[in-house]
Symmetry: C2
Subunit: 213 residues, 2 copies
Amino acid sequence: MTTGTRPLRADAARNRDRLLAAAGEVFAERGLDAPLEEIARRAGVSIGTLYNHFPARDDLFDAIFPPRMAVLDAAAQEALADPDPWSGFAAFTEALFALHAEDRGLNDALAQRVPLSPEVVEACHRCFAYIERLVARAKESGQLRADFEAADYAALIWSMSQVIRETAGVAPQVWRRCLGFFLDGLRAGAAHPVGVPGLTPEQLARIMAAPPA
Amino acid sequence: MTTGTRPLRADAARNRDRLLAAAGEVFAERGLDAPLEEIARRAGVSIGTLYNHFPARDDLFDAIFPPRMAVLDAAAQEALADPDPWSGFAAFTEALFALHAEDRGLNDALAQRVPLSPEVVEACHRCFAYIERLVARAKESGQLRADFEAADYAALIWSMSQVIRETAGVAPQVWRRCLGFFLDGLRAGAAHPVGVPGLTPEQLARIMAAPPA
DNA sequence: CATGAACCTGAGGGAGCCCTCAACTTTGTA
DNA sequence: TACAAAGTTGAGGGCTCCCTCAGGTTCATG
């Protein structure tokens, strides 16, 4: 759109870029609840300037995450193109968590550990739509267990998020092992009845809307 | 031991009991990082009195958790007595997470989301020793996949902790579904090679010792 | 250049939580 | 009952992070 808002002054544009770069780093390292002062400091800018450009923390998220989430879209496209539905499903899942593992902020965002603005939520929904297709395809092929639902993918994300956070500093590859176990449980051949219904869309929405404790 | 420390004065003993009861409630509801002022308030006692009895947050943990963890010991005993090693393993695991689900503080403690005092850590170790036996037994019987290691149980705990935390308010049984999927991946028949080594004891120790980000 | 608009700055007030300590109150004992 | 020891109180100082805004600085334009 680029509405009639006149272009930023040169110094302002420079500061904005620095702030975004710093925010990207800081959020990736320390999570989405990192102090904004740290971001301003790393950008070489005062806290007031940060608030000039991004009046709310969310505004930083808005500027940072949509492009990063686009990577996920690409991974999903590729996964859907895989002739083998299971291996597409598994590959996307691995790609997703590989991103989590290198970006703690993305981890926080997708695990919904922080209230997010509509634009990031929308990007999550787009991503979720891909997941639904990947799940449906893998179920139709008979490779993914029939009682797995797309909403169960949320639980997978919560699970792996925590594993990744705990192990990131010490054994940054161990999450792959854990994911391997988990995926083995999702194969059709492994299925034993679970006996508990999955999250309804309403329940999932309520969890997503809830403040992070 | 009950060393020569003389008994508490009546009012002091009463306050101590109230504080422990309040702490039990508050930690169970809000997690181990709940404000101590809330505990004092709920106990009907001033914050100074809380600090008199429990100079550090850890001292509250010490008084609260060992008895609660004893429940785990009992569950483990029972699981070891199960003639079917797999069903013992699975039953213990379910019992463990059922406790997590009703006590957020225990969840935090076992998921190591908070630095813990030696006594609680020791109780965790005792629990972990049981887990090792349950794992070994289930592997020997050929029901638990051979490449599962006791250290992998930590990842299971991290996983489920997060799922339980996220869903507790909205769908308090859904964790069972997720656990079902996970357990299906741990059955010997489901195993596909994972290709990543498990956590070494040293790595696990470092994670446990690390401050919670 | 000069000038006004755009932008930046950082001290400072607010909020939540931590923990301490001097003054006060209660208890148990003689 | 009287008194010392034990226990309680809550205001207050410290910390970290939030966010604002009056005053100073820099840029773009004529």
